[in-house]
Symmetry: C2
Subunit: 274 residues, 2 copies
DNA sequence: CAGTGGTCTAGACCACTGG
DNA sequence: CAGTGGTCTAGACCACTGC
């Protein structure tokens, strides 16, 4: 099927965008639905995405060269290039001049804290040592309606519930409650969480083949309750930054719910707006 | 000088990247300094940026067509295109197929709340009416050392200090303290702030020619003090989201310091991570 | 219909990496 | 040195806008 796409009949004329049979044709959408023109490079992007999801190329590995992909899909290098450009912009791929294009991974220095935006007030991330991680809980429970909805599973489905405390320079600073659908994370234990050296998302990739691609956070201020105060060693009602994060893998599939409580006396959440 | 750049001597061969005399040559940097190769399209981007800063094209206006710019700079359309692509990605320009490329502006629907990430918990931004804005203060003061440093002016320099309260559906929700360097905002008054229909950044553009391009926020949780509680009509010590924002115009020049205090009982700060 | 941005190709050369 | 991504060009045609 790959072979048949976007073939150009006239070899002296450059090929133009060729429309594959679109999904809407098969679904019998009404005529007033937009014809959904999609340029060639978007279709290529879709095919690359499918290969990434399917695990044809694993995190950290190189994908075929632009020339190879151009040959495979029967399009020009420039078209492949544009597709890869977009995937690189989405942080799914990483280009390295002279070496190749690689599947991005959380298991690398540059992406160590990709989703953690809490930084010391000094601004110097490296001034403080690596975070000390303490797993305080890891058990299998049944999803409440609320959790189930956010994780896109059914109420009562099995999910992992974990809790951990992160300390910087010995000071407990972050408390996190984490929920994961049980199925994709079969075999998770507190030990594996505790023993792993690297970010939690790197572990998800390495041990379970689940790559987080995107996340959405809802941030609030709220007073520390009894649990917060005892685990973070602060007084009750101390204002905490509440960060509810839903992380998604490919296909907008939610794979993690994380409720973080950040102590912001010596750190702050840093955000850039463009 | 524009005419002389990147001229191609050989008309049968495509031109290659031509290196203009670089700044470092003039500054006599040591030899071990990187030669700072910069591709043609980056140089074009720089020239476009200079025209934007210089006000050659004003917010909302169309810039010359890609073909015109290619002719002006003596490069191919593709090279201009790539320069514009980057400026569009930075939200400095907006492309509109069939119409042209325009200087982006805050004075438009799609950018109305570009820097305000507080949304109602319902998620439906349009469910609540437009914010009710109440200016509670606008006066000229002398910059404290702290304010001066963030605004990149000298301690004691004149700055505007304004305060306002935003209410959604009648409920006070946001309190903002705002500091602006006095010089670029000559003639600001509480009336002008109050009377203007549109975002504050749109006013800055329209009335003072100051276009905010980028901003950085530091977010914390803190307890409401007396002032917060009275202006937002809440109890003291209610946890508030504290959002300190520094907004920059071209050239990384800070032009506004804004300290926002958000009530997060019915709203939350929404952030997307990629 | 002309003019704009958007897509696609083919081919050349440059910059960088590693054997 | 070969192989990779990065830049640049020239030219063609497509999609969209507005007169």
């Amino acid at each position: 099927m790959i072979e048949g796409m976007a073939q150009n009949d006239n070899s002296t004329q450059p090929a133009q965008a060729t429309q594959l049979a679109s999904v809407s044709d098969l679904q019998g959408l009404p005529d007033f639905a937009a014809p959904a023109f999609s340029p060639l490079y978007q279709q290529i992007k879709g095919l690359l995405l499918k290969s990434l999801q399917g695990g044809e190329w694993k995190p950290g590995e190189a994908i075929p060269s632009e020339m190879d992909l151009a040959a495979r899909y029967r399009v020009s290098q420039g078209t492949v290039r544009k597709a890869i450009d977009e995937l690189a912009a989405d942080n799914l791929l990483v280009r390295r001049q002279g070496k190749g294009t690689f599947v991005d991974t959380h298991a690398e220095k540059h992406a160590q804290y990709r989703f953690l935006k809490l930084v010391p007030d000094s601004g110097d991330q490296s001034s403080e040592g690596p975070a000390d991680r303490q797993i305080t809980e890891c058990k299998r429970i049944r999803a409440t309606a609320e959790i189930a909805k956010l994780l896109n599973v059914r109420t009562g489905d099995p999910v992992w519930q974990a809790q951990r405390v992160l300390s910087f320079s010995g000071a407990p600073t972050i408390l996190e409650d984490i929920w994961l659908p049980a199925a994709p994370f079969k075999g998770l234990t507190a030990e594996r969480l505790a023993d792993y050296h690297g970010s939690m998302y790197a572990l998800f990739e390495t041990e379970f083949g689940v790559r987080m691609v995107r996340a959405v956070e809802k941030i609030r201020a709220l007073p520390a309750n009894l649990m917060h105060s005892s685990l973070l060693k602060i007084e009750q009602n101390t204002p905490l930054l509440s960060v509810e994060r839903v992380a998604y893998t490919y296909n907008e599939m939610p794979m993690e719910l994380r409720r973080g409580y950040y102590l912001t006396s010596t750190h702050h959440y840093r955000n850039e707006l463009n």
